[in-house]
């Protein structure tokens, strides 16, 4: 137990780094995923093709490999990013974006055709039917899967430990080398730190889901 108490500061900074890199990566994933989904459902073939290509390629590449490209690949083509933290957030964002895009797309597809037809038949314009009828319904179906993606992203941020980002997992491995006798406690402490984020997120998502629920 001493190992944790003595290094509480280190644990706290690791915790904050995990939270920070996840938030930045999540924001990036959300924006990029939104763009990809828009491209995908647009009637412009080159853009939807680009979106499909991106989604299929990145979705089937391990995050470790994506991270590798960000840290070791980009400098090779003259686009190096100075900070390991930013490179990591970029990797998380680029990797999670296709999953976000798929969630948004399936959210739009889950709105029944009758809704759009009804909107048109009462004379709503394209932007009105999108804004007032389709998107509000799509948004609600999208909440729980997006929440799951957020939780997965937080857990994925642990890979930063292998790329010089001092987040929770990195702190745990470093401390376990310094305090061989307390390995179990250290790892349990790290697990609790992650559960703190993931379980509170789950509870938050469940609350949102309850608020956003619609009867169909």
């Amino acid at each position: 137990m001493n190992a944790i108490v003595e290094n509480l500061d280190l644990f706290r900074s690791g915790f904050l780094t995990t939270l920070g890199i996840s938030l930045l990566g999540g924001l990036l994933a959300f924006v990029l995923g939104g763009i990809l989904a828009t491209f995908r459902v647009s009637p412009f073939r080159p853009l939807s093709g680009l979106s499909v290509l991106y989604v299929e390629t990145v979705r089937n590449t391990p995050l470790t490999v994506v991270w590798f490209f960000m840290v070791f690949g980009l400098p090779l083509v003259g686009l190096g990013i100075g900070s390991f933290f930013i490179a990591g957030a970029l990797a998380l964002g680029v990797y999670t974006a296709p999953f976000v895009a798929e969630v948004i797309r399936s959210g739009i597809n889950s709105v029944s055709l009758g809704q759009a037809e009804a909107a048109r038949s009462i004379g709503l314009t394209f932007s009105q039917s999108l804004r007032l009828v389709v998107l509000p319904q799509a948004l609600r179906t999208v909440v729980p899967p997006l929440g799951n993606l957020w939780i997965a992203l937080v857990k994925n941020s642990s890979i930063g430990a292998a790329f010089a980002v001092t987040e929770i997992t990195a702190v745990a491995t470093r401390l376990s080398n310094g305090f061989p006798g307390a390995v179990i406690q250290i790892f349990v402490g790290a697990a609790v730190a992650y559960l703190l984020i993931t379980l509170t997120s789950s509870a938050g998502i469940a609350y949102l889901e309850k608020k956003a629920v619609i009867l169909r």
């Binding site: 009637p43 995050l63 470790t64 070791f72 999953f99 399936s106 709105v111 394209f126 642990s158 790892f187």
Partner: protein, 289 residues
């Protein structure tokens, strides 16, 4: 577009013209993007043929080495898949149990392992297990980590699948005198497996991708092998080798996914199965992670 979507109606002549203009602009944008990327690569000298030749020239040893590493990756993935499927089945059975003393501990196990990162589990089996007197080689260390995480995830998928089967199915089975285990084995599980197949396969794809974490503890899988080659041949060939590694992963995962699609189509074209399943809601099964 002839297929109707919720987003827009069948287009009129003006709309069609707009779409055509948009398509040209889109094509132009994509072309500019490709040109910029190509220019950047060219300026850095990454497009020189000799740099790429290393990937196909057997004298360099790279193609053979990467293929060998691919098999090392597949071996870990396959064994971890099998063990976590078995343990996942047991866990889902435990969570569905009527006995509280079974249900509560299994629920705890599942929630715990699902809630923490895989890498932490791999590090645990790498750093902590030896201290507890369990020393494993890298191969099994990686498998223990992968299994601990994926058994929990797969267990939840199985459970969700069984719970999604219409209640009438099990009631009917009980009514004709089946026992609890018979209802499970002959009625619920076969339907649940078909329904959850897309989710199961996407989790298996995730598992295959996650074997790349073996890199972190030094197991010689695809990524580690690639890194070793970059160290050996120098950064000059870095990009090329990383691209090759990524391609190996992408192609393997695409093969796995298309196998799953084929399997799904086959079980859907079986009229008996389709009837029992009713409408499959594929959109519920968006893969996460």
């Amino acid at each position: 577009m002839s297929t109707q979507t919720v987003l827009f109606d069948e287009l009129g002549p003006r709309g069609k013209k707009l779409v055509r203009i948009g398509t040209y602009i889109g094509a132009l944008l994509v072309a500019i993007l490709i040109a910029l990327a190509g220019l950047q690569l060219y300026n850095e000298g990454q497009l020189e043929p000799e740099r790429w030749e290393i990937l196909i020239n057997p004298d360099s040893g790279v193609p053979q080495g990467l293929t060998r590493a691919l098999f090392a990756t597949l071996r870990v993935a396959l064994i971890a898949m099998v063990i976590s499927m078995i343990l996942g089945t047991l866990l889902s059975a435990g969570r569905l149990s009527e006995h509280r003393w079974v249900r509560i501990p299994t629920t705890f196990i599942v929630q715990f392992f699902r809630g923490i990162p895989l890498l932490l589990l791999i590090f645990f089996s790498y750093l902590a297990l030896p201290r507890l007197g369990i020393s494993l080689d890298l191969f099994w260390t990686l498998i223990v980590g992968l299994t601990a995480y994926n058994m929990a995830v797969l267990g939840e998928i199985f459970r969700a699948g069984i719970l999604s089967i219409d209640k009438g199915q099990s009631e009917a089975a009980y009514a004709i005198g089946m026992r609890k285990s018979q209802v499970m084995v002959f009625v619920l599980v076969p339907q649940a497996v078909r329904r959850m197949l897309p989710a199961i396969v996407s989790q298996l794809v995730t598992l295959l991708k996650d074997t790349s974490l073996g890199f972190v503890i030094g197991y010689f899988e695809l990524l580690r092998q690639g890194r070793a080659y970059v160290d050996y041949f120098g950064a000059k060939f870095g990009l090329q080798i990383y691209v090759a590694v990524a391609l190996f992963y992408i192609l393997t995962n695409l093969a796995l996914s298309s196998f799953a699609r084929w399997l799904e189509k086959r079980s859907r074209s079986n009229p008996k199965a389709t009837k029992a399943l009713g409408q499959l809601v594929e959109d519920d099964l968006v893969p996460i992670d």
